[in-house]
Structure formats: C-alpha cells, structure tokens
C-alpha cells in the first residue's frame, strides 16, 4: 500500500475576507508519530489542521500529500473542536463512515457496536446523538473517526470536554492508534496532555509557526521567549 504521507506544506496561507488567518506555513509531516499543535486562543491551530485536511483551500502556497487528494482524503479522519453529530442515533453515527465506504449494514453495525464498547458508549447506542452529554459526544466523534482506521487522524482538542479518567482513557486509545500506525495530529490546550503524548510540537502564534521541534526538547527548554511564556501560562503578545 502506498502511503498518503509525508504531507508537505509550502508557504501555505489561509485568508478570509482579506485577513490572513494562518501562514505562510512550511512544514513536513513524516510517516509516524504524534504531532501536537499548541498556542494561545485564536493563534490558528484549528485553521492549520483544517487547512492540512483540505477543509479550507489555501490562498497561497501548497498542501501536498503523497497521493492524489481524493485518495489521501480517504485515509484521513478529523475530530472537530465542536463535535458534529448527524441527526441520527449514536449507532447510525458510528456506522456512517463505514456505510459511506460501502460496508454492508450488518457489517457496519457489528463494527460500530465493537467500537462503542471500547469508547464506553454501549449504553447510548440507541440514543439520538445530538442529545448526548458534552463528553459523550466527544467520545462519539473520536470513535467515529477511528472506526475506519485512518492513516492520519486530525483531532482538535479531543479531550476538552472529558473528565480526568475519560481523558486518560482516550489518551490511551490515541497512543494505541499511533502505535499501530495512525499518524496523529492534534491541537490541545492541556499542556499535561501535550507532554504525555507528543513526539513533536508545533507552537503557533498569530497564525504562524513560531517554534517547532521534538517534544522532549521543546518542553525541556523552548528556544523562544514567547513559547516559554506560554508554557508558564503567561499571556503571550
């Protein structure tokens, strides 16, 4: 199987009504590991992930996968910052990506039930997805993203609404997925989480990559004063 990775961003810039939201960004995403995007609110983490995933067209520069776009998209999954639930049952939500790929109804159902058990959603299977609690919804979104075993998973603050135990459990799922070959790109505000699971860190500020590098080195001693301030929890200008 040819891989969709590496992903290369060259001078990629995102604009909205004249305003530059992100970029220019130059970045290469290698075939394995966990990359975590951090940065203050509004620094462009979500926009960067969306741009990589192809949800937002770049105004300048290029976002290149190693496969044609449609094929590459087929191997990715995305967990949104505000989870989007189809107006269907939890079961139907989980089965949906498989059904899109032509899996039979019974096959999709079996897989959905299996993953629901792993993500502790079995009790909610028949419930309407929009009525889930915040944490349940986020678990649903993650489970639905992982059900297709994507080569690349983008996750935008996937644990923001989760309690401590659920967070650690989800982190376990994420690192397990990463270990079994899923490339993980994640945005988070939880520096503890970032430390726990990141291999590589991208620190964003005002829409640009201000600093990036291996996680161990970054957390041990960031090389820019802004990153240091951010890690201390200070306001970054």
């Amino acid at each position: 199987m040819v891989a969709a990775l590496p992903l290369t961003l060259r001078g990629a810039t995102l604009r909205r009504r004249g305003r530059r939201l992100v970029g220019p960004v130059d970045l290469t995403l290698g075939p394995c590991g966990v990359t975590v995007a951090i940065g203050p609110n509004g620094s462009g983490k979500t926009s960067l992930l969306r741009m990589m995933h192809g949800l937002q067209r770049v105004a300048e520069g290029a976002v290149d996968w190693s496969l044609p776009e449609a094929e590459a998209r087929q191997r990715q999954a995305y967990v949104f910052q505000h989870p989007i639930a189809l107006r269907r049952s939890v079961l139907a939500n989980l089965a949906y990506p498989l059904r899109l790929r032509g899996v039979t109804r019974a096959g999709a159902r079996a897989k959905a039930e299996e993953i629901a058990a792993r993500f502790d959603l079995t009790a909610q299977l028949g419930q309407s997805a929009p009525s889930l609690s915040g944490g349940e919804m986020q678990r649903l979104a993650l489970a639905r993203a992982l059900i297709t075993m994507p080569e690349v998973l983008f996750a935008d603050e996937p644990c923001a609404a989760l309690d401590g135990a659920a967070t650690r459990e989800i982190e376990g799922h994420l690192t397990a997925a990463a270990a079994s070959g899923t490339r993980l790109v994640m945005a988070t505000h939880d520096m503890g989480q970032a430390r726990r699971i990141a291999d590589e860190v991208v620190f964003l500020l005002h829409g640009r990559i201000h600093e990036s590098g291996p996680a161990a080195r970054f957390f041990a001693g960031p090389s820019t004063p802004e990153a240091a301030a951010f890690l201390r929890g200070d306001i970054v200008e």
């Binding site: 995933h53 995305y78 989007i84 899109l100 009525s131």
Partner: protein, 234 residues
C-alpha cells in the same frame, strides 16, 4: 352567505350519498396530483439537495431562477404543453393531449420549481451543519445529497405538501391540456370551474370543500406518518 351554507350542505350530500361521479373525479384528482408530485419530488428534492451541496459560479443565479419559476403562470404552462402535445406539435404522435398524462406533465412543470426551492432552502441549513463532517469523510456528492434528504426528511415534508397543494388546487393548465372531458379528464378543480361558470355556486363550493378536506387528510396523514414535531430536533 346562503350559497356558502348551501355549499356545505351540497358537500355533505355528495359525500353521504357516495355520489359515483364525485368518487370518480376525486380519485382522478388524487391520481393525477400524486403522480405529478412523485415525479416532481424525484426531480425536485435531489435538485434542491444538489444546489445546497454544490458551489459553482452561477449557483446564485440558478437558485434565483428556480425561485422565479415558482411563478410560472399555469395558463402559459398549459398552453405550451398543449402546443407541444397537439397533433401538429413535435410530440403530437404520442397522442397524449386530453389524457391524464398530459395533465400530469403540466403539473410536474408547475410544481417542480416550488418543490425544489423549498427543498433547497430546507437543506441549505442542514448542509451548513453537516458541511465539514461530510467533506471530511469524503462522501461523494450523491452520498451528501442522500444524507441531507434522509436527515432532513421532516423539513422536506413542507416541500412535498406545498407541491401537493399547488397541484391539487391547480386548474388553469390542466383545463387546457386535459380539456375537462367528462369521464376522461374531469377532476375536482375543473369541475369546480365548470360549476362556477354555470352559476351553480353551491355545488362549486361543495366540491371545493371536498377538495380542501382531501388536502387536510393528506397533510394530517403525512405529518402523522413522519411523526413530525414530536422529538426536539429530529
């Protein structure tokens, strides 16, 4: 006022006596309208969905045009269909003029823009909710439209009912292409127009009440079947 009350009486009389002709033209009305509605929905609902999910340069113009076509004057539609189907017209060989099929064709032309416009409007909101997810999941265009149609089915009910209402009450076009022929193409609305022209106002009002009753039954039944307005969001 007397005529209105007399019309009520007339409607009751026709119904309790199970007037054979009434039953015939009522069934024909239903058959013509429902067939036209099914065809209009098969065209209009996916078209509405397609316009919701697809971005292209002339999209706004197409939507505005579709909205405008709601205003297609029935008499003109009838006339054009008549000219096309008449023996000297391009489809004359099909011999469809003055048959229920011709009436169905005219009604499809009249209600499809209405059905598609309302459907588009209903699915646009749902699409802005689902947009990111379905794009991210790499759903094909057909799958996107299908998902919108399925999850927005209750909103689409308004589209279908509006189309049904427009078609069942329509008279201008089907009068021209159907000819209001007794026993062949007479339906409720053309019968009403006939009785009005004859000055039989009570009978006309009576038939009108029956037609409205029919529309009410259809609407209530479909709301009940789709169990609308029950659960909060879906």
């Amino acid at each position: 006022m007397g005529d209105l009350l007399a019309g009520l009486g007339e409607a009751l009389r026709l119904i309790v006596t199970l007037d054979a002709e009434l039953i015939e033209i009522t069934l024909r009305s239903l058959r013509v309208t429902l067939t036209a509605l099914v065809i209009a929905c098969v065209i209009g609902l996916p078209l509405g969905g397609w316009l919701a999910v697809r971005r292209f340069r002339l999209r706004r113009a197409v939507i505005a045009t579709l909205n405008a076509l709601i205003g297609l004057p029935p008499v003109v539609v009838g006339l054009v269909v008549y000219l096309l189907l008449s023996r000297s017209g391009p489809f004359g060989v099909l011999n469809l003029l003055f048959t229920p099929t011709a009436m169905i064709i005219a009604q499809v032309v009249i209600i499809t823009p209405l059905v598609a416009s309302i459907a588009h409007q209903a699915m646009r909101d749902l699409w802005s909710e689902y947009h990111d997810l379905l794009i991210s999941m790499n759903a094909t265009r057909g799958q996107r439209i299908l998902t919108l149609l399925v999850d927005g089915r209750r909103a689409l009910l308004t589209a279908a009912l509006a189309g049904f209402g427009r078609a069942i009450g329509e008279v201008g076009a089907i009068m021209i292409v159907g000819g209001n022929i007794d026993g062949a193409t007479r339906v409720l609305t053309t019968a009403i127009a006939l009785e009005t022209g004859r000055g039989q106002f009570a009978l006309a009002v009576g038939l009108g009440l029956i037609l409205i009753g029919l529309a009410l039954v259809v609407s209530w039944a479909s709301h009940w079947v789709l169990r609308t307005e029950r659960q909060g969001t879906w």
